[in-house]
């Protein structure tokens, strides 16, 4: 190679050999990876239809969708964080603690069963709740990105700590006297469909578009895929990761708003144990735990699959005592299906 080639006369065959390479891969199919769960959802639909006539009614389907909203927001948050190559376990506590803190700050100091501090006007409940979520994300980000602590353990610690904080503030009880502004989104209906569904769909659409068509969205994939390379390309890796963690916290807090509105109260174990479902839905939907891979649409299909299975099982009259067993089994089956439907290794 050190002797430069004098033989520059181009031979057609050689040219073709250099150009058309043996390892060429069709780029087309890869684009449909995120659709891999759609057949599974259709099959579930058929099974549901066979099992019970109640399945294919708009009431039932809207019910499934409404029940998916809170989980799907956590999945949205987790998917963004995973794509950027991080993890946040504390989301499942944020969904409980953020509403509790917000409500605690605005509720009257005397009178009700739960005594607040009455520090802020009642209309600020939702903004404060979202702010709490942002602060949680920012603090996690500080530990992970500034102090370079291990993200898994930091957020695991936060999970426990925030759950404890919620119990301490709420004295371990459910809070039922919620401001009307706070519960509105969770139980209102717009055009016959619960507002929560509209809002969720909108958030997924906005997030999906940002990931597909905005530079900063694409930067998440670059960061998750190879942070060193992203840095050399001029992407501000730490800043963007931090923003993603904050957005994740805000989304989890917002899921808390919807959940509280939906059930009319903030229960003490709101969101507890959800993180397992969140990870399962995200990974089934094709998001890689190692970062850099996956789409929000895929993650959404993951949530819907899990929720549909639960719904079909309920309609089929599966004894509730078997639910937990089946839930776990179904996650594994769904994982296998998505592995082979997409042809992607889930490393």
């Amino acid at each position: 190679m050190s002797t430069t080639t004098d033989v520059t006369e181009p031979v057609p065959a050689a040219e073709a050999a250099a150009a058309g390479t043996p390892r060429r891969v069709p780029g087309g199919l890869a684009r449909f990876r995120e659709l891999s769960l759609v057949p599974a959802i259709l099959v579930l639909g058929v099974i549901g239809f066979i099992v019970s006539p109640a399945f294919l009614t708009s009431d039932n389907l809207i019910g499934v969708a409404q029940q998916s909203t809170e989980l799907s927001l956590l999945v949205l948050a987790q998917a963004l964080i995973l794509i950027a190559g991080r993890m946040d376990l504390s989301l499942e506590s944020t969904i409980g603690v953020a509403p509790v803190i917000a409500v605690w700050l605005v509720l009257p100091a005397a009178g009700g069963r739960f005594t607040g501090l009455e520090l802020l006007p009642v209309w600020t409940a939702i903004p404060v709740c979202l702010l709490v979520g942002a602060v949680i994300g920012a603090v996690n980000g500080f530990f992970i990105l500034k102090l370079r602590l291990n993200g898994f353990i930091v957020t695991l610690g936060a999970l426990t700590m925030l759950r404890g904080l919620q119990i301490a503030i709420s004295e371990g009880r459910s809070i039922v006297e919620l401001p009307a502004s706070f519960t509105y989104l969770g139980h209102a209906s717009w055009a016959g469909v619960p507002a929560a569904i509209w809002v969720c769909a909108l958030l997924f659409a906005v997030g999906g578009c940002a990931l597909a068509w905005l530079r900063h969205g694409r930067a998440l994939y670059a960061i998750g895929g190879n942070p060193e390379a992203a840095r050399t390309a001029g992407i501000r890796v730490d800043r963007i990761t931090w923003v993603v963690l904050i957005v994740g916290g805000v989304l989890a807090a917002f899921a808390g708003v919807l959940y509280s509105g939906h059930y009319g109260s903030i229960s003490a174990d709101q969101g507890s144990g959800w993180i397992f479902q969140v990870f399962a839905a995200t990974v089934i939907g094709g998001v890689s735990l190692n970062g850099g891979r996956g789409t929000l649409f895929g993650a959404l299909t993951g949530v819907l699959t899990l929720q549909l299975v639960v719904n079909v099982m309920t309609l089929a009259g599966v004894p509730p005592l078997w639910n937990q067993f089946l839930n776990g089994a179904i996650i594994i089956v769904a994982l296998i299906i998505s592995r082979f439907a997409s042809g992607e290794k889930q490393e």
Partner: protein, 524 residues
């Protein structure tokens, strides 16, 4: 070049740069100055501090001491990536391609759209990408995922990206290490084009011939220091090597094939016997024999299939038909463990992807294939690992602070030596080395090739898979491949032109040619 009345300031000027990593001093009071439109070469042995200087010049690392100026102005602040980008573009020594993203996106990463809030137009982006790649004569589907590309294609993606920023100063850190002769010719055409437009280059390479071909000025670093800067015309090959190594270059001159005086070499027992091996889309009907005491070269350009053949021998692919026998025993099972057990050691093509676990220590990486020899009953004794590794470090002259240093902290050439060390560690019957001297400096190159020779002298066999004439010169016999087929065979005393012609598929056939009814044009 139309110079203005006053001499323009250097496009990049670094003075008094010092940089240390823990106990290692990577740069000590070093400097460089690149004039506008100049092609400046930076050479030095492995670990001399070249890539560290590149990191500093591109704003990835901060120097401990010293100042940096671009066109007379002080360097931008650390976080201001856009400002750095507009002053200098770079092809880094380490791969910066992101495997999960498409080729088009890799090319335009972080500038896919004109503004942060403007949506990306994907079709237009892919079109721009194929136009850009077309300038280099490489036909890559811009929608393909980068991880599916070959090593050479990936390198072209890096190069095309760096050159497309429109910067007036471009750094290329060993850009040719992963290209074949044809690829290098294409790259140089493009660089000469940019030279004519007045773009300045800082060019790093261990192929000194490329320095003479492309550059006007050369700077030599040695042991973290600046040694000399001079016009290339004033330093001949020997003077350059002397400046790099600090010792007279007289003794082992390049070019002279190592005289081993082993006319009896080919009489050993065949250790590797390949018959009728075929892998679809890679190579067809390859037969090959390597005897004990022999070093055989398997020459061929990137698309010739020689690398894939080597990987097949090492168990990374499964051949469709044909048989492989090592030391007289047929290797039936495919897979790396089977190949290792049969006695095949591999130096892989790409050290980053197939070779090293970056965060683990030199010792662990060097002994990864021999963990079963490091202690009884499946245990791995740290003391034995260290001892083993220290022997390797001494044997191959690996520059590292210690056996426990993570591999990612080594310079590129020294990482390559770790990969070679690992292949040697198993004491293989057959050492299959793909471009073993990739990124290794002149002196270490002789050294590594000598080490491969020693494998043969110890009664084993080596297969050197490469298109580098320096590597091939060290072989007893060369089998040339083109387009998936063996097209020629050379004994000792071949002429460069003949071998290059054979690798390029040009019909100038030497006397020793063995297949007469070859028809390269017939395959699709």
């Amino acid at each position: 070049m139309a110079d203005p009345a006053t001499a323009p300031p250097a496009v990049a000027e670094a003075t008094g740069i010092g940089k240390r990593f823990g106990a290692t001093v990577a740069l000590r009071d070093a400097g460089i100055s690149v004039a506008p439109g100049e092609s400046h070469a930076l050479v030095g042995r492995n670990g001399a501090g070249k890539s560290t200087l590149v990191g500093i010049l591109t704003g990835l690392q901060q120097p401990d001491t010293g100042t940096l100026r671009f066109s007379g102005e002080p360097a931008p602040s650390v976080g201001d990536t856009d400002a750095w980008r507009s002053r200098v573009a770079c092809v880094y020594q380490r791969s910066t391609v992101i495997g999960d993203l498409s080729v088009a996106e890799n090319l335009f990463l972080n500038r896919q759209s004109p503004g942060a809030l403007r949506p990306i137009r994907w079709t237009a982006l892919r079109r721009r990408a194929s136009e850009l790649l077309g300038e280099y004569g490489v036909d890559i589907d811009p929608a393909a995922r980068a991880r599916d590309l070959t090593v050479e294609q990936r390198q072209f993606v890096e190069i095309a990206r760096a050159l497309s920023f429109g910067a007036r100063f471009i750094i290329l850190d060993e850009p040719t290490a992963r290209l074949d002769a044809r690829g290098i010719a294409r790259l140089f055409d493009k660089l000469r084009d940019l030279q004519r437009q007045g773009v300045a280059f800082l060019f790093i390479s261990h192929h000194l011939q490329e320095v003479y071909d492309l550059c006007t000025t050369v700077t030599v670093y040695r042991d973290a220091r600046h040694i000399v800067t001079a016009p290339v015309a004033d330093l001949d090959h020997d003077a350059l090597v002397e400046a790099m190594t600090g010792e007279s270059a007289a003794a082992p001159a390049a070019g002279a094939a190592p005289a081993t005086g082993r006319a009896t070499a080919a009489t050993g027992a065949p250790l590797l016997d390949v018959t009728g091996l075929t892998l679809r889309d890679a190579y067809a009907d390859v037969s090959l024999e390597v005897r004990a005491g022999e070093v055989v070269g398997l020459a061929g350009a990137t698309a010739s299939g020689n690398v894939r053949l080597a990987e097949t021998l090492a168990g990374l692919h499964r051949a469709d038909t044909g048989r492989i026998a090592v030391a007289g025993r047929e290797v039936r099972a495919s897979g790396v463990p089977a190949a290792l057990a049969a006695g095949v050691g591999l130096v892989p093509e790409d050290r980053h992807h197939q070779g090293l676990v970056g965060s683990r220590s030199v010792a662990e990486n060097a002994t990864l294939t021999v963990t079963d020899q490091l202690g009884p009953y499946g245990t791995v004794l740290p003391s034995r690992t260290r001892e083993f590794a220290e022997r390797m470090i001494k044997d191959l002259d690996i520059r590292t602070p210690g056996a426990g240093t993570p591999v990612s902290a080594l310079s590129g050439g020294n990482q390559q030596k770790v990969v070679v060390a690992r292949a040697l560690a198993t004491d293989p019957h057959v050492l299959v080395a793909v471009r073993p001297t990739n990124g290794v400096d002149v002196r270490s190159k002789e050294f590594l090739l000598g080490r491969i020779r020693k494998v043969a002298d110890d009664g084993r066999a080596a297969l050197v898979v490469s298109d580098e004439l320096d590597d091939l010169r060290a072989c007893d016999r060369i089998v040339a491949m083109f387009h998936g087929r063996v097209v020629a065979e050379f004994g000792r005393g071949w002429r460069d032109e003949d071998l290059v012609a054979a690798m390029e598929g040009v019909a100038a056939r030497p006397a020793q040619e063995r297949d007469t009814e070859q028809g390269e044009e017939q395959e699709g």
